[in-house]
Structures are given as structure tokens and as C-alpha cells.
Symmetry: D3
Subunit: 193 residues, 6 copies
């Protein structure tokens, strides 16, 4: 178990390249910090869903959120443009193989592999909620950076215009409400700035 | 929910003061990165416990691990010595009140407050497992820093000599095994260095 | 004397949490850098006071300015919100005890302790001038950060609106003049930005 | 031409992931800094080759050295392990396509594309000299980091044991001499440390 | 050769003081990163000149661009104001002597010294093109920083208003076109911001 | 007064080049942090001198310590080697002129200029004590960095072998005692490391 944990420590230092490539300082956000943000966002969303009667397995949500970026310890935090050049399928395959190698010593029953596969294919409601949390944590980070003076991050907001999280009913509504409140906060920020 | 998430974003940038006070560079580890490390460590420990027949609520473990440091967004990451001057009780009380204020808008049923209170008092097995993960992630971080050349961190290892996690049976054994393997890795590091 | 100086070295690396909690990069300002700014500001203010006939002990001003943040090496740079949760009295008491421990080996005659106590209670004119310099250096730092593009620091300016430095006569006037010129510079910055 | 230059500015901030993944601070070395180091090393090597009668086109050497990492502005600085998962061919193909897109507006006659292709295939002596400089600058950086206290970088030295630069005659000898002097310096460093 | 390369490694970490003195974070741009930017800009400019019939020795351009800042490894990156106090001649003389010492072991035939002298006196077309690239890379960096939110950098644009690169004909036109496109991009940035 | 204070803010961000040129991370120590260290060291030394009967003007000591590096805001933190190339006299003259310009608006009676001139010529006991504090703070910083794992800083200790502070009697003894205790601490560090 130790060698796995030592390797995952590396995510604490690995910069999210989206920021440094746009001229923000090194150390703006690590992959580990982002994973924390996604996990917390996913927990709040899932708990709200559950409170409103959606049948959601919160434990599964938290597991997926915590492990969804582990492959980056071997593949790195690839910029979006990298996916264009490698192709989405090649990236998924490489990350999946990397993930399997990372968890090799701690996944005797294959349950982490299964959760990862679920996330990559957005099969379950839980996987789709984590994907929504992944995007929402990104947007809240962009908002926080813009509030602190950063500029040049407009392209991140394009994804927010017509998100496709493949959710429906109450879950979709809860995610959309949070997204709307982010967009409203950003709009107020720029009206006052 | 948004204002809570915006506030928790701040943990991504807040430095763990233990490192900067010992002369390591700013940005060595954020509170959010540490929370990620604790959550992952706790998940692996809890899953191993469950696999060996211990009755442990993994969802509860993950929830506690994710939220156990949220109060720091208002109180800061206090150095150990600060606790000496404020007193352990005053610190606990301040952090508990801060935690309640942080979750005020998202904890309608008081379940986050209950988990936090459980953790502060180390009541349940799950709370005690998270506390063990908190210490183990710290030691793995120290090990990783020492492997990269850092020195002057000996005092962190003192806690490892006679840990008091108040666990027993299989859970204690699993935690002790991980602790032993960390100590062995460190010993090898210094014999080879 | 050496162990005291080694401990105080730590202030060179300790981040002022006010900036990192608002999303500015780690390393924006250390406690030692701030203490330097306060000391310089206090010297200029005190010299101007003296030049205009105010009876002020400049040596005492400089001593207080240099030592007023030494307790932070043990207690950390607590965010404002932390004081709310611990209470102002508890914070003062903790910091005073920490200060006494820090200077234990170099304060045979208790003169540092006396200066610290004076500062904490804002007893003398000199202590009140240092407190004014503490706030003014903060505002000049905020101004410098805003000029370099930082945003989201509005709350720091609230203290500037109705400062209560408990000064009177010429000293009050000199401090107010500097404060007014900072506010004017900031106003021009935002009109031109 | 401007849009190309603006895009290449991003290499000044992009961290080389080899350092951050091994626990060194963010900002240890940017891709642009490394490209500078490779270019300078290549110039010195090529000039020495020319001085000893090797027929080498130094202009071509410098061009290749300056442009050999431009694809990283779109693909990122992939860690070594990433190549294992994507496969060496897929990586080369992705980087080549990315390179072509980067230079699209400034390469009317296709000469940059040709140089890049030459480098990727190590066809010319000039391309092979740049590859040697790429490795030598890496090793000198590792040496400099170790001299400043960094540890845990042993795996970088493995490549130095039996390098395969596919050079011969005088060129091979000149490169080997530099490599030997690096290994000797490192050996002395560790004997004295 | 090794000792020269080890010394030049230091340029990878040396901050350009222009940014830090204006309140931007440490690590904004190293001297090595800037030299890379100048070299790339110079290559694109020189290649365009050559394509349009200007007789330009591109190899010489690249050599000058790569080595023009080597003296800074001993003299540091002096702020503009420093030149005012030392005098332009004293600075040139100090940097020339420093440069000669830096290349002492690798410049048997004095060719690096000659290129440096040419650059310092802006004798050749190649030297003047590198000087233009030096300024243009600076402006593109300022533009990139402003696009990312930085402010307070207006003084850098003054040099752009009436540049004196001492070029004529096609070369002047090509440099001016790039300068104009930078100014246009900046103007659009501020109209949209 | 404000423009002077705004300019001096810049010392909070200006890196001491001694560290970055030796491969330590950006942000290791700012000029402002160092000035704080010198001022504190000078205060403790002067107070001990006074307690043992030396006639020393502590206010003067503190004033000199606080202002002795202000010229660097215009001239930069020149590396030691820079002095070799400019000459010690030219450097002193440039820094003196820069200092006079920095304090132009706040030094109506010329007292800051006089203190600076005293320091540059090491005339008074107070000036010589500050110079000793300048070196001692440097050595304590080196010690602290080495304790945290830094290496390659041996040349800084050479100055400690036969210091020439031009002090005598009790003052010399007090300074030498502190120096000896630093050397002893370092010796123990390396025996244990």
C-alpha cells in the first residue's frame, strides 16, 4: 500500500497545466487540490440529490471523485489541446492502463478499476455527478482567480454555456442551479469590476 | 451552496505552515492537497479493514476525511506550538464554531456537524481511522520531502514512535503495518543517502 | 542569542495568510517583509512628528515596530476571522505568552516584554504610532498589489474609512495625511484602470 | 508571426514535469529555460566539432535546438512514463502534428517542418548533436540541483551509463568527453557531501 | 566546457528584476527563458528578412541571441534605473569583462568575444536584429502578462512608441510590422477588458 | 512620504540573488526580509553591548540597519561578482546616489543621507555593528537553509573564518561570541547529518 501512496503524493505538487499555459504563476492549483475540490463539490451535490429523493450511492460518488485523476501521476496533466492530437480514444486507453498500473498493488478485487471504467464511460448516475463536479470545481476556480485579478480565462466559460452532463430530473436541476449561480456571480463580478 | 464552495477553494492555496516554518519553500503543500492525501489514505485503509472483516462504514470515513480540515479556511493552519498557547480545548472550540459557520448554508440536517463532532472526539472507529490517515499522510509527505533532499524534519518522526490511535484488533494491525513500512522506507533512505 | 535569531529567521518564510486566503500566490508577502515595512513607515512617521515638535521617543518606536510580530513565529499569522473564533482576549494572551517564550533567552531585564505589553495595550504614543504604521503598511501593500493587477481586496479598505488610532494633535494629523494620500492614490488608480 | 510568438511565450511558464513529480518545487525549470540550455550546449559542442574538423552545419544545429520542444506548448511536457502508455510512435505523431500547427503561419517553405522531422528521426549529424545536447543539459541540471541539496534523482543518471547518441568519430569523442566530465563532477560531489 | 555550462545553468533561475520590482510574483520570467524568447523571435525575423531578399547571416543572428545575456550570470539582471546610476559606459564595460571571463575556457579563437562586442556596439545588421528581438520579446511578454491580468506595466510600452533599432529598408519594415501587430493586439485587449 | 514608501515596498519582492544564483528556489529570501533580520540582530547585539557598558546609540543602530539596503530598490541586489566588475568605488558611488534619490522627499534635514554615508564608510561604532549584523544574519540564513537540506553554500562560510568588522573590546567580543556559536551549530549540523 505504501508504494501506491508515495506515488499519489506526487499529485500534490503536479501543477494543473491549464493555468500555467495561460500565464498564471506556477503553483496556482495542484492536481491533488483539484481532486479535493471535485470530491467536496460532488459530496454536496450528491447529498442534495439524496435529500430530494434521488437514489444515489454517495459512497460510490466519493470513491470515483477521489480516484478519477490518479492516472495523471503517470501520464501528467495533459492540456486540452493534447487530446486533440492524441485522439480521445488513445488518451482514454493510455490513462486507463496507467490507472490499472497505479492501483495494481491495492486493488485485489478490481473494484477501483471498475469505478474508473464507470467514470471513463459515464455509465452510472454517480459517475455523471462526478463529471459535473469536475467541471463545476473548474469554473469555481476560474471565478476565484478572476476575482483575484486574473484575466484571459474566457475560454473556460464556453463549456458552461451548454453543458452536457447527461443528467435528468432532480439531479440535472440541482447541478443546473449551481451552474446558474456561478454564472450569476461571475456576471456580477464583471459588472462591478 | 456556491458561497460554501467558493470559501473552501481557499484551502487550495493555504500553505501548511509546518513546512514553511521549517524553511521549506512556500507552496510545498496546501491544506487541500493534504486533505486529498488523507482521504485517499483513509479509503485504502478502510477498504483493507473491510476486506479483512472489520465492520467499517467507508462512506462515513470518506465524509470525515474530506471535511475534517474545513475549519482552517477561517482559523488558518495553526502550527503545533499555537495549540500550546491557546490550549487544546480553546482550539477545538474555536474550530468547531468556525466549522459550523462554514457549513451553515449546506447542513440543513446537521449531519456534517455531527461528523465533525465525532472526529474531534474520535468517537467512532471511522473517526479514529481518519485520524490515523491524517498522521500517516503527514509521515509519507515528510518521507517524500526527505527523499527529495529536505532535512530538519526529525521532530515529525517522534509521533511515529508510539502512536496512540486508539484502535484495536485488525484495524490497529493494518494501520501499524503501514506505519512500519513507512519507518522501514525511511530507514533505508538514510542508510543509502 | 543564536537560538532566538534562528527562530526569528522563520518569519522570513511565513506567508501573510491574508493574501493566500484571497487567492494571491504563495510568497506574496512574508511576516518579516511586513515587519520591515512597518518599521520603515513608523520611522518616517515618527521623524516627521519629531520635526514638527511632537515629543516622541523614536528608538522606542523602532524597537516596538521590529518586535511586534515575533509571537507569530509560534502562533502563526492568524487570519482575522480566527480572532473572531478565539476571542480577542484569548489571542492577546496566547501571543503574549508566546512572545515571552521567544525572548526568554535575550530579555534579562524584561524590557522587550515591557515594550510588547505596551504595544498590545496601545499605552504610549509610540505604541499607537506603530499600530498606525502597521495599518498603513498593509494599505500600501494592498495598493501596490492592486496596481499590479490584483482584485478582490476591497475589504481591506474598509478599515481606512474611519480609523481609530487613538492619536491626537500633530501626530494624528501626520498619520491622517499619509492615509489620505493613500486613498487618493488608490482612487486615481481605479479611475485610470 | 505574432500569434506564433505569443503561443511560444507559454513555454516560459510551463514546468518540466520531471522535477515536480519528484517533489522539487514548482518553477524549478521551465521548458523555455531548458531549450535555452540545450541550444547553448549544442552551440558549444558543434563549435568544438567544427574546430576539430568535423563538417557540421552550426546554423542547422541552432535552429533544431531552438525549435525541438515547440510542440510541448500544445501537448505539454509529458513525463517519461506517459510515453510508455501512449507508445513512442503515437507520441511522435501527435507531437509532429502539433508542431506543424504551431508553425503553420510562419513556415511558408516548410523548412521548420523539415528540421523537426529530421530531429524526430535523428537523421542528420546536426539532429543527433542536438539530441546529445538535450541529454547533457538535463544531466547538468540534475548535477546543479544535487549540488544545491536535491536528492532522489538517481534514475536520471542511468541514461548516462550507456548513452546511444549514434555519433561516431570526433563528434562522439567530444560528446563523450563532456559526459565523462559531468560524471566525474558528480562523483566528486557525492564523495565530498 | 563543463564549468561554463554549469555557470550558465544559473540563468535558468535568475529572475528578470523588471517583473518582481513591479510586484509580479517571483519566477515570472527567468533570464534563460527570455534568452530563448529573443532567440526564437530573432530567428523568425531573420528568416523573414532572408525570404524577402535581405542579406542576413542567420547563424550569426542565432549565436548573438543565445549569448547576449551571458554576462548577467555574474553581474545580475540590473534594473533600468541601475544603468542611470552606474552610467551606460561603465555598465557596458563591466558586462564585457564579465562576458570574457564567462567564456574564457570555451572561446579559444575569440569568436564569442567578437560577437558580443558586435552586439554591444550594434555594428552589424545581425546585432541590430537581435536588439530588436530583445525589445519585441519583452513587449510580447508584457502583453501576455497583461492578458493574464497584470497591470502597472505601462512604462514598458513607452519604448514602443518611437523605437530606434537603426534598421532600414526591408528589415526595418519587417520589424515595424511585428511591432505594429503587438500594439494592435494590446489595444484590442484593453478595449475588450 | 507616500511615493517613498510605495517604492520601498518593492524590496518585499526583490529576491536576494545569492540564493537563486546557487540554485535555490525563487522567493528564498527578499531584501526586505533580510533587512528585518539585520535590524533584529543589530538590536540584540547593541542591547547586549549597552548592558555590558559599551557606549552605543541604539537608535542610530536601528536607523542604519533599517535603511542600509534602500538603494537596492533602484540598483538591484547585485551579486558579489558584480562588484568585481564594476569596482567597489563605482558601486558605492552608484548606490549612494541612488539612496539620495530614494530619500529625496523625506530627508529634509539630510539625516538619512548622513547615516547612509556613515554606514558606507563604517565610521561610527554603530555603523560597524550593523555591518557585523549584516554578515551574521547572512550566516544564520545559510545555516537555516543548510538545516533544511540546502547544499553548495560553502563559500558563504569563508567570510566567517577571519571576519574584519573593525570592532574592539567588549563589542568585538560580543560579536565574536555570536559568530562562534553559529560556527559551532553548523559544525554539529554536519556531524549529525
Amino acid at each position: 500500500m505504501l508504494s501506491t501512496l508515495i506515488e499519489l503524493q506526487r499529485l500534490k505538487r503536479l501543477d494543473r497545466t491549464g493555468w500555467t499555459l495561460r500565464g498564471l504563476p506556477n503553483g496556482t492549483e495542484s492536481v491533488a487540490s483539484h481532486s479535493f475540490g471535485v470530491s467536496v463539490t460532488a459530496m454536496l451535490l450528491a447529498d442534495k440529490c439524496a435529500a430530494q429523493g434521488v437514489a444515489v450511492d454517495v459512497e460510490k460518488v466519493l470513491r470515483i471523485a477521489l480516484l478519477h485523476d490518479w492516472a495523471e501521476v503517470r501520464v501528467g496533466d495533459m492540456p486540452r489541446t493534447a487530446t486533440l492530437y492524441f485522439g480521445s480514444d488513445a488518451r482514454k486507453q493510455a490513462e486507463t492502463t496507467a490507472f490499472l498500473d497505479v492501483v495494481d498493488m491495492v486493488d485485489a478485487d478490481g473494484s477501483y478499476a471498475e469505478l474508473y471504467s464507470d467514470y471513463e464511460r459515464r455509465e452510472s448516475l454517480e459517475a455523471r455527478l462526478v463529471k459535473a463536479a469536475d467541471v463545476l470545481d473548474l469554473l469555481i476556480q476560474v471565478y476565484a482567480l478572476e476575482r483575484a485579478g486574473a484575466r484571459g480565462l474566457d475560454e473556460f466559460w464556453e463549456v458552461a454555456e451548454k453543458p452536457d452532463f447527461n443528467l435528468d430530473g432532480t439531479a440535472e436541476q440541482i447541478v443546473q442551479e449551481l451552474l446558474d449561480s456561478i454564472l450569476k456571480a461571475r456576471s456580477e463580478l464583471h459588472n462591478n469590476g
